[in-house]
């Protein structure tokens, strides 16, 4: 079995700052990490590999050259090899162009895959769109928000337990297909020193646009179907209050009065 895990490198969200004058992101000095949901997807792949010996796990990413560090992390966490698609032509891609490119990367580098795993969403864009778009571009079925998964006995199907609004459901899908990972029950492991050293000798290949069977007009900013016209900081809560030194009775009264003024609770004095 060959499992492709598509991953994204994202800025560490707690460090994101906005330039108030220009309304743009300040990227300098912001650490990059492997997107947490992509790490869950990788964990799921490693789990499936354990259940099905002989399985190969291939981490794939699209991004600037520094995305290597996210792929190195994947190799440390158990991926067998990694592929980075990196080219100036890919820059500025929206989800449609990203999905197109990643589909082309998988077709070029791992044409005989059985399963594609993705994270449910990335923590920077939060769109959750690239996974289903890859599935559609490759004509594959999809199961989203998976928490655990197992291959069928003949390995022609996969059973995925997934989160739905009313709880969980188990869905069966024939392979090849696409599964997205939510936070599962799998415990996140820190890679051992040996795993870190071993990762350095695992293959990490880089592809550029010329290696892919894709029209240049579908790549990057030029290939994107959406266009960002404005970026601005969100409205801040200007009139927030913090009350200190109240006894429980005073605190209770303050909260009740506030909830009544905001009409979440009936009664009280009308607010002005």
């Amino acid at each position: 079995m060959k499992i492709v895990v598509c991953v994204k490198q994202v800025p560490e969200i707690s460090n994101v700052r906005i330039n108030r004058e220009t309304g743009t992101l300040i990227r300098e000095g912001v650490a990059s990490i492997l997107n947490p949901f992509c790490e869950y997807a990788l964990d799921l792949a490693v789990h499936l590999k354990k259940e099905s010996p002989g399985t190969e796990v291939i981490a794939v990413s699209m991004g600037p050259p520094q995305t290597r560090s996210a792929l190195m992390r994947c190799l440390e966490l158990g991926a067998d090899r990694a592929i980075l698609a990196s080219d100036r032509k890919f820059a500025g891609a929206d989800t449609w162009a990203t999905g197109k490119t990643l589909a082309a990367v998988i077709k070029a580098a791992v044409p005989d895959f059985n399963l594609i795993l993705v994270g449910k969403q990335a923590i920077d864009g939060d769109t959750a769109q690239v996974g289903p778009e890859i599935a559609e571009f490759m004509g594959l079925p999809q199961v989203m928000y998976g928490v655990t998964a197992e291959f069928g006995k003949t390995r022609k199907r996969i059973r995925v337990r997934r989160e739905v609004e009313s709880g969980y459901e188990v869905v069966e899908m024939r392979l090849p297909g696409v599964v997205s990972a939510s936070k599962g029950r799998l415990i996140r492991r820190l890679p051992s020193l040996k795993a870190i050293i071993d990762a350095r000798s695992k293959p990490l290949k880089t592809l550029t646009a010329v290696d892919l069977d894709i029209d240049d007009s579908h790549l990057g900013l030029k290939g994107s179907l959406t266009q960002v016209v404005r970026i601005f900081p969100p409205q801040s809560r200007a009139d927030g209050r913090k009350l200190e030194g109240l006894d429980p009775e005073g605190a209770r009264k303050a909260i009740l009065a506030f909830l009544q003024a905001q009409h979440y609770v009936e009664g009280g004095q009308p607010s002005c």
């Binding site: 920077d124 609004e165 209050r241 605190a251």
Partner: protein, 405 residues
């Protein structure tokens, strides 16, 4: 256009069975498309050998101008008594769809998918819809990504709307990109603001980087312009009178079992009614400051008194006090209820990004320096365990008093 690779086609006939427009037939041991083809793409995914492909051209400005009308996906949920009816988010979408359509001078159509159990379709007419496109088929008895994508794509191909909106619910968020990819459409996720600019384009505004910035996005090259809209951000459309022109049209649905490639083999509903935190209007969230699992009863009671649900921080999920489906924050669920009360949650950025778009935020925490206080409308420094019982009782009393005029 749709092309058939004659060398690969094994003339199995699935495409013919699946096509909603009767636009492909198998003749001379090979599938042949005809002039009825709308490029909806239903046949491409169902082909077991991958013999079909669609090459789309970007439409010219003249072609784009032919697209008109605002289409809304009327996502349904199962109601007691074995009925299917549109969810609350559909009414929220309708209020926005109405505004957009009025600015464009166009009409609002809701597409509703289900089987014979569908109800509540006419109610949509009293909430701003001009028309309902009803799609009924035994295979649409429950949501499946393949079945719903096929039917909606064929509706879009036939209707040619200028705007298509879906709720950013779990189903909406997986369905929208599938449709956008199939029909090569620009799509913006999780919008919190929609408008029409002077070029008659939809301007879609959404939070990014966990709510740290807002981005306004347009889809200048493709029609319909697609967006998913975050639930609980917009008020539901007011109940009004049904317009005289309101009508319900039934769309003929062609769907084969083979087109649906996933099968639900087991359902495990959580017994707690509080599970759906994404759609909740009022959330009371517990953090480590609640000290132990038993104290969550106080949170649950307050949530119930306010007609809301309980949720929690990552810390208490990791301690196994609550399941992960109730976790608010970066590695959990992003919520934007009307009211969010954080109890004993310090407010690490990873938590705050999951709730900062709530309309009103109240926090109770012992630590006056807790970062949660930076995002609150009302912050109380104090011991929540002492405050909550009295508060819950006071809220119940207020409700009882209000009920007795």
């Amino acid at each position: 256009m749709l092309s058939v690779n004659k060398d690969i086609c094994n003339s199995c006939g699935l495409c013919e069975k699946t096509c909603p427009f009767g636009a492909i037939t198998v003749a001379d041991a090979c599938a042949v498309p005809n002039e009825n083809c709308t490029l909806c793409g239903a046949c491409v995914n169902v082909c077991p050998v991958g013999a079909l492909s669609i090459a789309r051209k970007r439409p010219s400005p003249e072609k784009m101008a032919e697209y008109a009308g605002v289409l809304v996906w009327g996502e349904c949920e199962k109601l007691p008594g074995d009925r299917l009816a549109p969810k609350k988010v559909v009414y929220e979408l309708l209020s926005q769809a109405r505004c957009l359509a009025d600015k464009l001078g166009e009409t609002v159509t809701v597409i509703v998918l289900g089987d014979d159990r569908l109800v509540g379709v006419k109610t949509l007419g009293a909430h701003g819809a001009d028309r309902v496109l009803r799609c009924r088929h035994p295979l649409l008895d429950r949501y499946t990504i393949d079945g719903f994508a096929n039917v909606i794509c064929s509706a879009i191909a036939g209707e040619k709307p200028s705007v298509f909106l879906l709720g950013a619910t779990p189903n909406g968020r997986e369905l929208a990109p599938r449709i956008a990819a199939r029909m090569d459409l620009g799509l913006t996720a999780d919008c919190t603001q929609l408008d029409i600019d002077d070029q008659r384009q939809m301007v879609q505004t959404r939070p990014a980087f966990g709510g740290n910035i807002m981005a306004s996005i347009i889809s200048p090259y493709t029609r319909p312009q697609m967006a998913t809209v975050r639930p609980n951000v917009f008020p539901a459309a007011e109940f009004g009178s049904v317009s005289k022109a309101f009508r319900v049209d039934d769309m003929a649905v062609t769907l084969s079992k083979a087109a649906i490639r996933t099968k639900i083999v087991e359902e495990m509903p959580l017994c707690e009614a509080s599970v759906n935190i994404e759609a909740a209007q009022v959330i009371v969230a517990a953090g480590r400051g609640c000290q132990n699992k038993e104290n969550l009863g106080l949170i649950q009671a307050l949530a119930k008194a306010l007609g809301g649900v309980m949720a929690g921080s990552r810390a208490i999920v990791e301690m196994d006090w609550i399941p992960h489906t109730l976790q608010v924050g970066q590695s959990g669920t992003t919520v934007s209820p009307q009211l969010y009360i954080a109890v004993g949650i310090s407010g690490a950025i990873q938590h705050v990004v999951g709730m900062s778009t709530a309309k009103t935020i109240v926090a109770i925490n012992c630590d006056p320096e807790a970062p949660i206080f930076k995002v609150v409308d009302l912050g109380i420094v104090g011991d929540a365990l002492q405050i909550l019982p009295g508060l819950t009782q006071a809220i119940r009393d207020a409700a009882v008093k209000a009920a007795k005029p």
